[in-house]
Subunit: 226 residues, 2 copies
């Protein structure tokens, strides 16, 4: 990885949302996640709503942010409930929210419903990423989703939940970046296991990365720096 | 299926929750589900929160009930948000609620948290089934979950989301039935594709069935009745 400068290596670490979303997990997994994030200077952890307060307490003073998922992973609940979940997560200490849009509604052309729910979550007052579940969308639907995210006030579009029909692909990331330009960020997530995976998606236009393999990737970066 | 009397066949149909929970679905899938449920006299449909109002409107006057899932499919959000989702589903026309318990918390021994969230959902005022995601639990955890469901005021325990590590098994249904006796019902869900699947789970102690293959099962019953 000699083509990454030390500053770039730091930037890669800071662009990783160290993620634990498996529903069978509990406090022990959250505590380990937070300790790893602080140790490797990842930008954030990404956790389920139930564990936001715990993660926030563990990470106080470390500079690592807490990202809470909302409507995860199906996105098939109402705007009102997503908004309530968002407010509660912020009250519990979430610095950012990664909401799953109602991609079933989007596929059916109910764009106004999707824009409304994005606004409702954005109203919670912290930066919002819209998870599109790109593997369930055709290219036209991805474009519409990007436009709705922008109009609704989101800061990022994000490819995948990691529990859907597929993860982040170079093609999907390129498509999202082409649509949002530099007005929004693009978070790649789902199936990122190695530094090479991450760098390929970065090259395609992603500037934030959700992965549960952050520690292995950090070790690859460290080894490359020797 | 000559061992089922006509009355038993009607009872089997009435014990089926005709289910569509795939997140990529939209209004067209919900409308078809409702039409099929009315045609085959299934007891209920089971849908995501986003589609409860639509299903309730479609089913008015048919006698088919609407079941809404809550905290689906991960169960990893807070009691407060599950309660808000439950209230909204009831306001939208849900007759029953199938809530996913925080099975990650249960595995970690946080039983009080789980009992509390069950109470919070039961407070919405309609019958509640607790989805345990049995494939993620050992036998002792299944027993604790049954006890918490009963203490929390739920009416049923239910095996699976259909999106977890496994579906309903004869062994899990037997375990749940042995624990709850006749005080609660047992709903089997996940992987029920044929009448033989359903009858094996019924024999093991289940008295309610969640399946997206209800139409095929109804046809098997009709063929057997000729």
């Amino acid at each position: 990885m000699s083509h990454l400068t030390p500053a770039e290596k730091e930037a890669v670490l800071a662009s990783i949302d160290h993620t634990f979303l498996r529903p069978e997990g509990g406090p022990a997994e959250i505590d380990r996640l937070c300790a790893e994030a602080a140790e490797h200077r990842f930008g954030a952890v990404c956790v389920q709503p139930l564990w936001v307060a715990r993660a926030a307490a563990r990470l106080r003073g470390t500079g690592v942010r807490v990202v809470a998922v909302v409507g995860f992973p199906h996105g098939a609940n109402t705007a009102e409930v997503k908004a309530a979940e968002a407010r509660r997560a912020v009250a519990d200490g979430a610095d950012e929210l990664d909401m799953v849009i109602a991609f079933g509604a989007l596929r059916a052309g109910l764009d106004a419903l999707v824009e409304e729910e994005i606004r409702a979550v954005v109203a919670a007052g912290v930066p919002v990423k819209c998870i599109l579940e790109t593997a369930a969308l055709d290219e036209a639907a991805m474009d519409r989703a990007c436009d709705l995210a922008e109009r609704g006030g989101a800061r990022y579009v994000k490819t995948s939940t990691g529990f859907g029909p597929g993860g982040a692909t170079v093609e999907a990331v390129r498509r999202l970046r082409a649509r949002v330009g530099h007005r929004l960020g693009v978070k790649a997530s789902g199936g990122i296991r190695t530094l090479a995976d991450l760098l390929a998606l970065r090259e395609a236009g992603a500037d934030r990365f959700g992965t549960s393999h952050g520690v292995a990737i950090a070790r690859e970066l460290e080894a490359a720096a020797r």
